[in-house]
């Protein structure tokens, strides 16, 4: 029986950027973009469920974000998570990775004896890959990053493969541990139909009317939310205040126009191109 925490982030779909993605103050205008489950966090959740399916346990998905981030928690319930937690408070806004990891680590600490924490390697918006390790540091767990395969596990240990860039490392660790997961590890399962029927009404408390609330609670539809006060956190270490890094300036990337010389597709044109290439070739060889 293992208690497994999955850290998940809702992210703007940066592969399909449109409109005004950034606000004046350099924060993300999430409203302008479709929001998705950070891809590698789905792999982390899949790994947690795989472990639970075999050796038993409990999977808890935690996200820090705006109320809208409850969407990925609902999806987590569909996939098979036992519990979900939405950590949300205006005072958490504009957190850098130090402040984000502080809040996540405190949440994990307060909810007791965790055996395994799984995070995505990297979120596709902030792109830092720093939150996983910084949580590991704060909760004092062993850490293995860039996990590319789960080889073997039981109640006492895990054996994983790590993508060490120039080498592949096969590593054994006991519990507790924090792993950051890459997309090579597995293919996330589809939502389960029965669970979709069970949880399709799942939402945060504020979105239920007073008359609906008791039914919602009885059916487990209420996604629990936690604020700074609920977690009794030091405000100085959260959000903008707790963030040593500040976004000073944001610039969207413009195409820079080169002085382009276009060649035709006729034989002589291609011959000319090859001659021009040979000039560089002669220079370098």
């Amino acid at each position: 029986m293992k208690k497994i925490v999955v850290l998940a982030k809702q992210v703007p779909d940066t592969a399909n950027i449109t409109g005004n993605a950034m606000k004046e103050d350099g924060t993300v205008n999430r409203a302008a973009l479709p929001a998705i489950f950070n891809p590698e966090d789905l792999n982390a959740l899949e790994m947690a469920l795989t472990i639970k399916d075999k050796i038993g346990g409990e999977v808890i998905v935690i996200t820090m974000g705006p109320p809208k981030a409850a969407e990925i928690l609902k999806h987590s319930l569909y996939m098979g998570a036992d519990h979900v937690m939405l950590i949300t408070d205006r005072k958490f806004a504009a957190a850098d990775t130090l402040a984000t990891s502080f809040v996540l680590a405190e949440t994990i600490r307060q909810f007791g004896e965790v055996d395994l924490v799984l995070a995505g390697r990297q979120a596709i918006d902030g792109d830092t890959a720093q939150v996983g390790p910084q949580v590991a540091d704060k909760i004092g767990f062993n850490q293995i990053t860039y996990v590319s395969a789960l080889k073997e596990f039981d109640d006492n240990y895990l054996i994983v493969e790590r993508d060490g860039e120039v080498q592949t490392e096969v590593i054994k660790t006991g519990y507790p541990a924090l792993l950051t997961i890459t997309s090579q590890v597995n293919t996330p399962r589809y939502p389960n139909c029965r669970r979709m029927l069970q949880y399709f009404r799942a939402d945060v408390k504020d979105n239920f009317s007073n008359s609906e609330l008791s039914t919602a609670v009885a059916n487990g539809w209420v996604i629990p939310t936690y604020s700074l006060d609920d977690l009794k956190l030091d405000e100085e270490r959260c959000g903008l205040k707790g963030s040593p890094t500040k976004v000073h300036k944001i610039k969207s990337i413009m195409l820079k126009g080169g002085d382009l010389k276009i060649y035709g597709t006729g034989q002589t044109d291609i011959k000319q191109l090859v001659r021009d290439i040979m000039k560089v070739y002669v220079e370098v060889h």
Partner: protein
């Protein structure tokens, strides 16, 4: 401005990783105008074979800690070692290579020191900030490469940043700093070793972009794994290296090692020939600093033409064979 550079050894070759040399030089250009020094920090089972190189690129001193237990990436042990080294030096700046090792350890160190860490910077410079004196400005792409953010750490020290390999350029000239090696002692605590490394399999490196002056890359437009032969033939004829877009890798035309871009390698060859590559921002992030860019694409509106110096609008299946024929003639 005192700068610390995290020095990393390639465990397969036993030599310095290029990024360690690149960052030594960068740290030197950042700190030298302010009479600062560059201090390297290294921990491992043995020093890199070519450690002296660092002193030709601006390093003043190297602190090192050698212990057989540091043969493998025991993250916690490395963290404690570097935290102690950094505390003893009190630097303004600490730079890491954004390698799989640097990105494993740097966040742990920043968390322990409760300071800021800016990831994957492409530009670093020093300027005044309000009444706080000179600080490090850290420019980095984020949001899948769609924006460039300038990040600062105004109130905390050290200011920490990571930089990917190949991003910072090396100068032609060499410096002649005396080699100064300083062993560092720490009380190694056995409890820092929490993982057991059962085996380590070196990846066979099939691609060497670092020394390639010419790179020929293929994208989704190449059409099939079989057709990718055209790209390899062109690379052979020009004694160049083969690159690929992520789409080409995803389709199985080329192996992941060949990928160029935000999630692949960053390259800046003398000549980059992009064949059937549209030139999305994430691909450009890895190649737009190339000296000369040639694009072969059948779509005249493809964004690659916005950064190309030479281009042909047409079908690569017709163009490349003709090029190969003339290349043979030119010989």
């Amino acid at each position: 401005m005192k700068a610390i550079v995290f020095i990393e050894k390639n465990p397969v070759t036993g030599k310095l990783r290029n990024v360690s040399i690149e960052l030594t030089h960068k740290a030197y250009t950042l700190s030298n105008p302010f009479k600062g020094e560059v201090v390297g920090v290294f921990a491992g089972d043995a020093l890199p074979g070519n450690t002296d190189e660092l002193f030709r690129f601006g390093m003043s001193r190297l602190l090192y800690f050698i212990d057989a237990r540091l043969k493998h990436l025991h993250s916690i042990a490395f963290k404690h070692t570097f935290v102690e080294m950094i505390r003893s030096e009190e630097p303004d700046i600490v730079l890491f290579g954004a390698t799989h090792t640097g990105r494993d350890i740097a966040p742990l160190i920043a968390s322990s020191l409760k300071t800021g860490l800016t990831a994957d910077c492409t530009q670093l410079y020093i300027e005044d900030y309000k009444n706080k004196g000179k600080i490090l400005y850290q420019v980095r792409p984020a949001f899948g490469g769609n924006i460039l953010a300038t990040i600062i750490t105004p109130d905390h020290r050290p200011m920490m940043a990571s930089v990917r390999e190949g991003v910072m350029l090396l100068p032609e000239e060499r410096l002649n700093h005396p080699v100064k090696m300083e062993p560092f002692t720490i009380d190694f605590n056995e409890s820092w070793v929490k993982s057991e490394f059962l085996s380590v399999i070196p990846k066979v490196k099939k691609v060497d972009f670092g020394s390639a002056n010419i790179i020929i890359s293929g994208g989704a437009g190449v059409g099939s794994a079989e057709n990718f032969r055209l790209i390899r033939d062109l690379a052979n004829a020009l004694k160049g290296e083969v690159g690929a877009s992520r789409a080409a890798v995803d389709f199985g035309f080329a192996e992941k090692d060949h990928q160029i871009g935000q999630t692949g390698s960053v390259v800046r060859p003398m000549l980059y020939i992009a064949c059937g590559i549209s030139g999305q921002i994430q691909h450009r992030a890895g190649m737009e600093e190339s000296q000369k860019i040639i694009a072969i694409n059948k779509d005249p509106e493809a964004p690659i033409f916005n950064i190309a110096h030479m281009g042909i609008v047409g079908d690569l299946n017709e163009i490349i064979p003709v090029m190969l024929r003339y290349l043979k003639e030119e010989g």
